[in-house]
């Protein structure tokens, strides 16, 4: 076999067909990674302002705040329901 024939045979198979979805998959993964990196940067930003102890204290304060807030809202709702039912008992239903 001479060089010319071998070159022709080697050139005969140029490209393997790639999966059509490959580009889409790569682009999607890269975009998802950007989103995750953004989340990390927000955390880095928080870490920049607060020490771990301060962050822990803030998290506890937030949980306690939400709990107390929830209790107060519940109690205010119960109060207003009681006031409405008392009003209806005394004055009758205006409708």
């Amino acid at each position: 076999m001479n060089d010319e024939i071998l070159d022709r045979l080697l050139n005969a198979r140029k490209f393997e067909p790639a999966n059509d979805n490959l580009a889409y998959r790569i682009i999607t993964k890269a975009k998802n990674r950007s989103w995750m990196n953004d989340q990390v940067s927000i955390w880095d930003l928080v870490k920049g302002f607060l020490s771990p102890k301060q962050a822990f204290a803030m998290a506890i304060a937030l949980i306690v705040g939400l709990y107390v807030g929830g209790m107060l809202t519940q109690s205010a709702t119960a109060d207003s329901e009681y006031q409405v039912s008392s009003f209806l008992e005394i004055n009758g239903d205006p409708l």
Binding site: D3, A12, R13, A30, S34
Partner: protein, 183 residues
Amino acid sequence: MATELQKLTDEELMELILNRNDNAFAELVTRHVKQFYSIAYRTLFDKNDAEDAVQEGFLKLWDKPTMWNPNKETKFTTWFYKIVINQCYDNNKKKRPLNLNDTMEVADESIDVETSIEDKAKIQAVEVYFRKLPKSQRTAVNLCFYQGLSNNEAADVMGLKLKALQSLLMRAKTTLKEKLHKF
């Protein structure tokens, strides 16, 4: 936006990617994915592994675009061939060694339909023996024949001097000719 990006060169797209422009990244991937998949497939001989290598190569580029040095006078494709080929070698190290039976199975889906049966047989024989060549010779043949790079570009991708690359090609062709003497 997409058509504007299509007019840009690879190197201009890389400048945008350095500024985290994901549309530029998408354009670069769409433009070159088949070309790099092709070299990955011809290095690993497995579709899934080749897809993984190309994907990991592009994601490395996206995660760390500063790997690309715009001041170096290298074409993007020449530079990225190095990334993909090294990724293939790394992935291959982690895997089991190639089973000889795998290498004997040569799909002929990419051979032109109009190629004669005799030529198809010859091309498949070339492929079988090509897969048995040493790694560096295979890479040299891949770059120069299948990817159509010039000898200078291929030498650059492989980090070799031109003479060393020519020697690899010569040895690969001599081996193939010896093996295929009956044709």
